[in-house]
Symmetry: C2
Amino acid sequence: MSSQVLHVHALKTACSNCSVLELCLPIGLTGGEVERLDTLIAQRVKVKKGAALYRTGDPLRSLYAVRLGFFKTSILSTDGREQITGFQMQGEMLGLDAISTDHYACTAIALEDSEVCPLPFTLLEKLARDLPSLQHNLNKLMSREIVRDHSMLLLMGNMNADERLAAFLLNLSQRLNMRGYSSREFVLRMSREAIGSYLGLRLETICRGIAHLREEELVDMHGRNVTILDLSGLKQKVAGCHRHSEQ
Amino acid sequence: MSSQVLHVHALKTACSNCSVLELCLPIGLTGGEVERLDTLIAQRVKVKKGAALYRTGDPLRSLYAVRLGFFKTSILSTDGREQITGFQMQGEMLGLDAISTDHYACTAIALEDSEVCPLPFTLLEKLARDLPSLQHNLNKLMSREIVRDHSMLLLMGNMNADERLAAFLLNLSQRLNMRGYSSREFVLRMSREAIGSYLGLRLETICRGIAHLREEELVDMHGRNVTILDLSGLKQKVAGCHRHSEQ
DNA sequence: CCGACGCATTGAGCTAAATCAACAAGGGCG
DNA sequence: CGCCCTTGTTGATTTAGCTCAATGCGTCGG
């Protein structure tokens, strides 16, 4: 684990009074079950903006639930180019890719000062044996990540730049909305380059895409401040997937 | 489940004498544990070439282990375009994406006459509670799929056509090799168009890529017959990811 | 054996996005 | 406050891969 990661001794963790209880691993668990899950989390961990929570190749110790803040996960190609595989916000899980080999496959970097709940994986697996609904939640979480990745493959394989950008903004909007934030106005936590890496485009293409969406009066953007002007218009843009439809 | 799916009543299933035992879900399980897993599989299921094992939206009943044959899984964009999300061969699992919503997110089509072992999911989850190593295997399987998908995102986001094709052929070669087949000579089960859909390219581009690899004497291909002439050369091609490396 | 159909190949031109380049706009810090 | 450095924007040009089109090949059925 990176040296820039700080432990929070002061507060005793408690899923039960966490703001993202209903989005996170404990979803649907009874009070007693949540308490048992709490016992796994020795202490929350703070990660400073720009610091790594873990890096590719580190041995798997814990899965991490994002308590607050924002992360990116990325992998490196053999020649050192970065592919961002996801952005994670509150209530989302980090480290699922490490279960396969007992080593993290990607690097997780905080995009702002963040806080995570470490779930020691061996303990979590043990507890999950006792709590079927916890196991089921974990299964669902992994499956959801698979579905998400497949939809990213669809995006990369079949959408043009503007459609990808629209899909990206809509996805953020929707996830923020689920967390009680505005779906119309929000602040991006990542650079144009990071968006580009995520969507398989160059940063200049992202800028131009933004210009197009602005011209069409679908969104308004100043730097990282986003205002969605026409939600259904954006959705239409994504729906009409590009490649010359054949009927 | 599709009507073209036939049940095999004759043979009692038995993981213990399955050819892909050591690659499939039972990996690392004790004899007794494998026997208990066997009890889940009421009967193997044959799927004819071109038939669907399940379709997007079908309710999740079972995960399926491919016993023999070859499948493709695909999702549809809103405008009806197909993105192939994977090709599955013996010992690989189908249906993991359905756990998330209790409905299959993709459609699984047999690319040749195939046979699968259905694992009723609720029973599998129950059994996994009793058999920690089964649960662990299931977790690993899901995690591995996530890692695989991330490497596909890297491919789509950062590799040019020839590199994608080389990576695809190497991946097939390696998986066939693990199953005791030649890593140098094999037969493709899918059309150029399907390869293209999988790699985010058009079929013509696949053809041209093949021509390039032939010119470079890395592979020889006649129709769907593949001979890899220079394995390390192919690997080099994938390694040297495209986009103008900046030092 | 022949025709038809699906699949594969190859060519020619077009286009969306990459690349290269110049410049603007914040934002943190001395 | 002004400077520097990072991040974002926009323009000009290039190019990889798409589209359209013609042709080849293999196999299946009659």
